[in-house]
Symmetry: C2
Subunit: 96 residues, 2 copies
């Protein structure tokens, strides 16, 4: 029944794969000396997508997120992603 559907909030972290050139990360590293920061390395810049899925249970919701992460949010050739459950979506606010 449709009233058994609940909202689940997830985040998808998309980062450049190891060994793949990351121009944004390199740009950050090159700007650090100008900020007098000399103890930072290994900067990688990616994307973070947060979304709410309405589904019967968390497994079904996660399956939707995994599919979108693979097909829409990332380029699997050069990027890796991880899906993180943020818990039940609040009743208001997150459904922008």
């Amino acid at each position: 029944m449709s009233d058994a559907v609940r909202d689940f909030r997830f985040a998808v972290n998309v980062t450049p794969r190891e060994g793949i050139l990351d121009p944004q990360g390199r740009a950050v590293e090159q700007s650090l000396p100008h900020l007098d920061v000399h103890n930072v390395s290994g900067v990688r810049v990616g994307r973070r997508v947060e979304l709410t899925v309405s589904a019967a249970d968390e497994a079904a919701a996660r399956a939707v997120v995994e599919r979108l992460a693979h097909e829409l949010f990332s380029n699997p050739l050069i990027e890796a992603f991880e899906v993180v459950a943020l818990g039940p979506a609040a009743a208001a606010g997150v459904r922008a």
Copy 2:
């Protein structure tokens, strides 16, 4: 002593503030029907920055990350950020 310095890996999640227009999130939402996805809402697209800080302890390392998140990774007027400790950096690999 400098040999007491250790490497700490952090992530900074940068997301548009609530109420701030998020054109990328809107674009994702508008593309979902074409993928036959009808149960997703509240999409917000931000950045994720991962970095390694060499410092005497985690508190000192986190202070560097907080400063960079505020000054370099985000625009505080329109974006919020959270700092997440990813644990001690691996000896190799993350120092790209």
